[in-house]
Symmetry: C4
């Protein structure tokens, strides 16, 4: 039994897997998560789900059962994990870890029917199923890289975010002054004008709010030209930082693979 538990642990925990890449079980789970997320997305679209409720509910229930088995198995093998062994109740410690709680939240909606639930509650539980995406984070390097790239330049990002907020505030205040009279529903308060400022400075430009007075157009033009520069700042920083993190990761990977090869 102990031998079997150790085997299951090695299959489930990516850091305990001795060979290159993912274990067969985790490989299978990654595909299953992708299928479950696609199913959950399509399930919300009435054009697709109407008339297929039973089929979709059964798929959902089946996927939910498999993820429940995974959840229980992970709790069972938590005692093998050196990270939890130092605690008195390793399994309980695992169950209250953020990852396990997210797992549980993603499983729950699949196992219960929400016949009498209101539209908003239903929508909320449907979105809960999207949390399965977080399960990918356990086996994926992408999240690790993103985090490393962010952490490395966190001071720069905080600074830039601050500047951006100030720019949005100033841009919003100027247009509130210039257009507030002419378009009170769109520029009649600074928060309303700030929505315009965000949409303009990110160059999204939906066209739901734009200046119509000559002064407003002049200010908006100057803001658009200046702001485009500021918004582009984090872009360059982040791209550079991400590339760096990626190269570092690859070097570490190569070293790890060599180590594993030496052991085997």
């Amino acid at each position: 039994m102990l031998e079997f538990r150790k085997k299951v642990y090695r299959q489930l925990e990516p850091t305990a897997w001795r060979r290159k890449g993912l274990s067969p079980t985790n490989h299978f789970l990654v595909y299953l998560i992708i299928i479950a997320v696609i199913e959950a997305v399509l399930d919300t679209e009435p054009v697709i789900s109407t008339g297929r409720e039973l089929l979709l509910n059964n798929i959902e229930f089946g996927l939910g059962l498999i993820f429940l088995v995974e959840y229980v198995a992970r709790a069972w093998v938590a005692v093998e994990n050196p990270r939890y062994q130092k605690y008195r109740f390793p399994r309980l410690r695992y169950l209250v870890s953020p990852m396990a709680i997210i797992d549980l939240l993603a499983i729950l909606p699949a196992l219960f029917a929400f016949g009498g639930a209101s539209s908003l509650v239903l929508r909320f539980f449907r979105v809960l199923r999207m949390l399965r995406l977080a399960k990918l984070g356990r086996t994926s390097k992408a999240f690790k890289l993103l985090r490393a790239a962010f952490v490395q330049k966190r001071h720069e990002f905080a600074l830039i975010l601050g500047m951006l907020m100030v720019t949005i505030l100033i841009a919003g205040s100027m247009l509130y002054l210039a257009e507030g009279e002419a378009q009170p529903d769109k520029f009649g308060s600074i928060p309303r004008a700030m929505w315009w400022a965000i949409v303009t400075l990110t160059t999204v430009g939906y066209g739901d709010a734009f200046p119509i007075t000559p002064l407003g157009k002049f200010l908006a033009g100057a803001i658009a030209i200046m702001g485009v520069m500021l918004i582009a700042l984090p872009t360059g920083l982040f791209a550079a930082s991400f590339t760096e993190a990626m190269e570092k990761e690859r070097d570490e990977d190569a070293a790890e693979e060599e180590e594993k090869a030496a052991k085997a």
Copy 2:
């Protein structure tokens, strides 16, 4: 006859051409392809084509005949190509190569009339003629460069595409929760909200879908600011990778030219 076939082969196959640049035949074909593509584009516009059907059909038929001659000639000289000589039927092998099949598909619509065809079939055959563009790939370095730049950073692109998908999913799910009630036709399902997410994160911002509730606007603003950063990532990577591939190509070209000069 064999001597003539060898000459034709050298004219048609860019890698067999010994002098700098393209052979006269391929030069002529490049111009012909550009003319044929422009003709095919203009042919679909009723304002231009109405009243000129006969003229356009004749041009189309004439161009189709020349490309048919080229197609047959390429099959005929395939036996000269070292790449196909190792097969038992070099010409048949050439005819089932992807390039030859694309050639045939692009020729077909020019040679047949589609009097009784439905609108969709007609449109499909018209677009088939665009495949002539792929013929340019045979003589163009642009495609080679693009491919090299892509291949070199394919792991990074796969990773970024994954992150992008997750971002679009999360952004869509959030707006589905916040705006689904207020605008069911635009945010009433996750796929619908994902269309909004793509249009916003790429900063295209058509204005066909945008949040109207305060919570929706707040979330959309945060998503726009954060997302612009993520979308900009592949940009920097790709630009760097493309420049690198271009420089490498130029060095190789210079070496090749020197070699040819030494031979001559």
Copy 3:
């Protein structure tokens, strides 16, 4: 008393603070400024302020009083500042410095009621309160960095701004020619067409003005493709310049900290 004034001076003047980071007083003021700005922003939104006028006015008045005390204290300790000691009336000299005038302008709207004021005057005084943001500049490195990044490349920016103006002018003139007849309200004069040019070249694209004639669409397409390149120029320059300024700043900071540590 002199001892106390010296203490207050060290608390208020960031350059006189001997330890790392900000003094407790300046820390407290930074939070207060952020709260005051958020309050001022929300105050302009009728959905939030209606029915809460008294509460918001009291918060505003309280914050105004604290900032008034700060204003008086800063004037009182100005005699300690070596920068103003060389003048005959150091306090008066401080009071006419741009920073002190901005401080006063930001305090005034909080202390007076504008019962009978017209809508535009009211809006103007509300926006005046946003000047509190400038107070952050006293303790923030962000503004210092932004300025350094800008000053270092000011010739390039002037040049690019000039090119941009010329591009906007040319783009506007072309569309004025092509679309002026068809859409006189949007392209009937060069200034009107220039609004379209700015919205297009920054890729904001509200959709309030776009060409509808074939010639206008052709020109607009070419302008959009070419212009996107030009607009992107300052972006790269500024990002590079900002990163440089940031690194220089960090080196200087490290040196300063070491010096302070050596003194203590």
Copy 4:
């Protein structure tokens, strides 16, 4: 007289001016050109020009006279220019140079009244006055830099423009197939769909044309994500190339100044 002509020549020809910067005459002309362009822009706006026709016409006529004097003076001193001295009729040679012809075209509209002219002719002559901007090119380094940056990477730009055209063609063809039936006025021909493709790939996104069918939205989403990458390519290239040209220019300037100083 000859002495005076030499002096005028040194004042008008920037390359003949021995001291740093521009000659006083050229300085004055630069300001005059900027004023004349602003006047010409505002003149087209009915809100500004209505009721001020006489004033604007007089300003226009006065500026036109000054530019005419400049034109004649430049022709008169052309014999001093080593570039034209080798021709038999240096002045005639100068008058048929592109720069002189542009000068003349920009002067003409100011000197004639167009009472009976149609709206389009009037608009055309108004835009002709914008050619005064080209006069700035004579004294400005910006155009020189732009040209250098472009020339240095011309092969890359040609390649990228080609790829861009192919991408626009493919994107347009795909949406023509997917949306042609549903929205014949916007996607009913490939040229129409290409307008959508340009507006989307440059991320301008006016919102005058967007897909409404599920297939169209899916294709448009994929095109937007992929295309944003390609469009961003020339941006990086051009920014790098421009910075390089700028640095080279500065080095050359420094060398030239030293030479002048050594001469003086």
